[in-house]
């Protein structure tokens, strides 16, 4: 008798970047993870700063803030802000879609029909547009507010 092994479609580390036929949404998902890891890395630095350095008094705090006004840190800060905007809005889309809020009305599968992915596509495009606008708003303020 043929034995059914669990998780035969297991892809290993390649599964992290394999997008198959899932198109745009799957690449957004990969980017969701990359931004998530980036924000996590930033969070470690942020937590160190607001605990180890904050508790040591005014001088250490001001020295830390002075170090963080370095232009490279400012560029990093902008990237973290954009990563956060992306991660938050894409996450919100995933929650809405995952809980079934933006599925649209059920339609009979008569050719040419739309699959679920294409039905949800306008929401995805709207989200990408909002992210781009917010990224530009942040870029404007970072430039005007001084780097």
């Amino acid at each position: 008798m043929k034995q059914i092994l669990p998780r035969q479609n297991y892809l290993g580390a390649g599964g992290w970047v394999w997008a198959g036929n899932y198109q745009l949404e799957r690449y957004l998902y990969i980017l969701h993870r990359i931004t998530g890891l980036g924000i996590l890395f930033f969070g470690l630095i942020h937590l160190t700063m607001t605990t180890f350095f904050r508790i040591q008094g005014q001088d250490v705090w001001e020295a830390t803030i002075a170090l963080l006004t370095n232009p490279w840190f400012k560029i990093g800060e902008y990237l973290v802000a954009v990563a956060f905007v992306y991660h938050a809005l894409n996450g919100l889309r995933l929650i809405l879609q995952g809980l079934g809020f933006v599925l649209g009305k059920p339609t009979p599968p008569i050719y040419p029909y739309k699959d679920a992915l294409r039905k949800k596509r306008p929401w995805t495009m709207a989200m990408v547009a909002v992210i781009v606008i917010l990224a530009l708003v942040f870029l404007f303020d970072f430039t005007v507010g001084g780097w």
């Binding site: 992290w16 998530g36 996590l40 938050a88 995952g98």
Partner: protein, 120 residues
Amino acid sequence: MWRTRLHLLHMLTGVLIASLLGIHLVILHLDAILGFFGVAATEPTSWQSMITRASQGIWAGLYIALLAFVLYHALYGLRGVILEVTTSAKTERIITWSFIIVGIIAFIWGAYVPVALLSS
């Protein structure tokens, strides 16, 4: 069933973090735009401003709550990414428990600082 609950909690903490950190980012970085709409731009990273906030219970409470949400959301997310490359239940348990321990240590240290700064 508990796995579904953990995922639901991941979504819930995500929404809470998006709201709280959204406000944080706007106040901290959009000062030129806030100024345009008549909101006075202060320097939130100055020692005086920071220590005034640190002495207020509501801010300490917010920091600790945000720390708990972020730690859960980040560690659960990273756990999900890592668990994709293993099929072993034992490895899964080891990773899960390591993350729980790291999370608890980070939470205790991260929550201690705002509480200690309350009396400063």
